[in-house]
């Protein structure tokens, strides 16, 4: 797969898209909250993957991790380059309402079993961290700053949560 992509095999990219576009779009959409902008970023991400595949080093991590990092960085960069960031950071009532509406919308389009189900067995403080980092598009430092949790604590809580999730997600 990796070799085919490095050789610029179009069908390998098609496979990659069909397999991972949904997961990456989920990440991007949760960060940007706007369909048109999220789609634009997803498109940029796949073109970047296609152009820079020779930079992927399997010894440094899984393919999905590499894709996720590109998608997440691209989406976060977008929030900084637009007025979105402001909307996301301010917490007046209107924005809270629109955020809730967006979350409903996301849930309607989620494939497979609901993520909330997966997270339901986690202790509240760990579930909170996973939700904000993976489902609400926060970075660790944003989370630490906005909710006044030390960055080290955010990290260890995520560590504990991910360990717990291995069972739920059948990771052996």
């Amino acid at each position: 797969m990796v070799k085919r992509l490095q050789a610029k095999d179009r069908s390998a990219l098609a496979y990659l898209y069909d397999h991972y576009a949904g997961a990456l779009y989920g990440v991007i959409f949760r960060i940007l909250k706007k369909e048109a902008i999220a789609e634009e970023v997803l498109q940029d991400v796949f073109l970047k993957i296609w152009d820079r595949f020779d930079q992927y080093d399997p010894s440094k991590g899984k393919l999905f991790t590499w894709l996720l990092n590109i998608a997440r960085n691209q989406a976060i960069d977008k929030t900084r380059s637009r007025e979105i960031s402001q909307e996301r950071k301010t917490s007046d009532i209107e924005n809270v309402v629109s955020r809730i509406e967006n979350e409903d919308y996301i849930e309607q389009r989620i494939e497979g079993i609901g993520v909330k189900d997966i997270l339901k067995d986690l202790p509240e403080e760990q579930r909170f961290v996973v939700e904000y980092l993976y489902l609400k598009g926060y970075t660790q430092s944003e989370l630490a700053e906005e909710f006044n949790i030390p960055l080290g604590t955010v990290k260890t809580r995520l560590r504990l949560a991910m360990q717990q999730l291995r069972t739920t997600l059948n990771v052996t």
Binding site: Y17, A23, Q43, T65, I118, R159
Partner: protein
């Protein structure tokens, strides 16, 4: 290094999420290369992360896929060239240079064309202006000459030394009139035709002065010339009458009296 502690700090989760700084990242990568336990742990973290996010997937609209592959297909040949030749920068520099050259060439051609057009237009404007100013100069000269003539005529007409003789029409030409201005001292004779018909090509009018009962030739002139004085031949003193006859072109030594058109006596003031 205490591997257990390192793992429980959560740094590998942060690494998998792409949250680390460049420096932290390369530290983790060094450690991964050294400790197989870290690699195993990371693999588990990555798998859990992937599965979680696969569960949270949102299907993008189909048009995104179409757009991506349209873009990929469009850049395909270019991508191959780049993949085959390492000096990537050289190519893009070369491309940039080529693009810049073409742009400059296009701009230059456009400017050259525009300026050529403007130059041609200016040149034709200039030609027109030169012609126009030549015309104006000619007209000015003509007007100037006419003015000089009028001034000269006026000097004659206003000069008390000239006697004006009014010659009225004979029964041959009842409506005809002409004046003679004669300066007896200088012997100059001027003629002013007021109203005399145009003659056939082979004929001319001839002015005569009658001195001591004999006709003296004072020169020939064409009819139809109105305005201004005609300088005629000088005659001697003592003319009593002036008269005009029609003669063959060039005139005759003696007048054909039957053709007399106008005549008038000198009235001495």
């Amino acid at each position: 290094m205490n591997i257990r502690e390192y793992i429980s700090s959560g740094i590998l989760e942060a690494y998998a999420l792409g949250e680390l700084s460049e420096k932290e990242r390369s530290e983790v990568e060094n450690n991964l290369a050294r400790y197989p336990e870290l690699r195993e742990e990371l693999a588990l973290i990555e798998e859990a992360q992937e599965k979680l996010l696969m569960q949270a997937a949102i299907k993008p609209r189909d048009l995104v896929r179409e757009k991506i592959f349209a873009a990929v297909d469009q850049q395909k040949p270019e991508a191959k060239v780049i993949a085959l030749s390492p000096p990537n920068n050289t190519i893009s520099l070369w491309k940039f240079t080529a693009a810049a050259s073409i742009t400059i060439a296009l701009i230059t051609s456009y400017l050259a064309y525009t300026y050529h057009d403007k130059w041609k237009a200016t040149q034709s404007d200039l030609t027109n202006l030169i012609a126009q100013s030549q015309r104006v100069a000619q007209e000015y000269n003509q007007v100037n000459q006419r003015l000089n003539k009028i001034e000269e005529d006026l000097r004659v007409i206003d000069n008390p030394a000239f006697t004006r003789i009014i010659m009225n029409g004979t029964p041959n030409a009842p409506g005809a009139t002409a004046y003679v201005y004669w300066n007896e001292n200088t012997r100059e004779v001027y003629l002013s035709v007021q109203n005399m018909k145009t003659l056939a090509q082979e004929n001319q009018y001839q002015l005569w002065a009658i001195v001591d009962g004999k006709p003296v030739d004072a020169g020939v002139f064409d009819g139809g010339i109105a305005g201004g004085l005609l300088k005629m031949k000088d005659i001697g003193t003592g003319a009593a009458t002036f008269a005009v006859t029609i003669e063959p072109r060039g005139g005759k030594p003696s007048p054909t009296l039957e053709t007399m058109q106008v005549a008038g006596n000198v009235v001495k003031g």
